[in-house]
């Protein structure tokens, strides 16, 4: 095993993570890109992007966003990506 694979390896090494998440993103089911994000969720995501969601509510919002790939993409878009 290489040093990188040990538990003492530098956890900040980001090599390959883009490939891994890129792969996982591509593996989302077909059609997921076309589903519309509910307006209420989109509004919450806009507030989240502006830092207006209270810390106690962030976990619940993250759970909601993670329920669908298109929500994650929509948030990434709001944050200036995709």
């Amino acid at each position: 095993m290489s040093p990188d694979s040990s538990s003492e390896a530098d956890p900040n090494a980001e090599d390959g993570l883009k490939d891994i998440f890129g792969f996982l993103e591509k593996s989302f089911p077909d059609g997921a890109r076309d589903i519309t994000v509910p307006p209420e969720l989109r509004r919450l995501m806009m507030e989240f992007a502006e830092g207006k969601i209270p810390a106690s509510e962030i976990e619940a919002l993250c759970t909601q966003i993670l329920r669908s790939p298109e929500s994650i993409r929509a948030l990434a878009q709001i944050l200036g990506r995709v």
């Binding site: 290489s2 694979s5 900040n12 090599d15 996982l24 989240f48 962030i58 990434a76 944050l79």
Partner: protein, 186 residues
Amino acid sequence: MIVSLTSRGASRDVAEDVVSEILAECVAESPRNLLARFKGEGPLDGWLLRVAINRLISRQRRERLMEPAEIGEIESLPCESMEVMEEALQAIVSKALREAIESLPAEARLLLWLRHGYGVAQNRLCICWCSTPSKLSRALSSARRIVRDQTLRSIQIEDPGLHLQWQDISGVCSNSLLFSENRHVA
């Protein structure tokens, strides 16, 4: 390339065999031509190295599966073709990665997706989470460490003979031979 393969447990003969196989496919006629699958994302030598490592992993898995088989049974083994072996490897890696990411709390999972899946800048994420760069960095580091360790542990449990390194996982994921854009996983 041979040195990289031998450092992953291949004998000199096997490493040379894999490299020869790949070189032969580089000059083969279509549709067997390997270079036709290169999409130009990154340097060619790095891509060829990933292909070689994945071939080696597939070969090592195939050999382990065949070990207990009688000679007469080898012909009927379901994993005899390289393609089937690569798909089996794909399934193991994919399952382990997904389970590792799913094991994270929602906040950490979304952080990883936004930072590494979509390349959202860390300072933008600091605004969302009302956090400082150092706190966010620690959260990301912790999440990455969990995903890496959990993924490698799951693979080890699923196939104890498969000694993948973390860079192999990313190499497998970026290898278009294994994970084409048109192929979806369960």
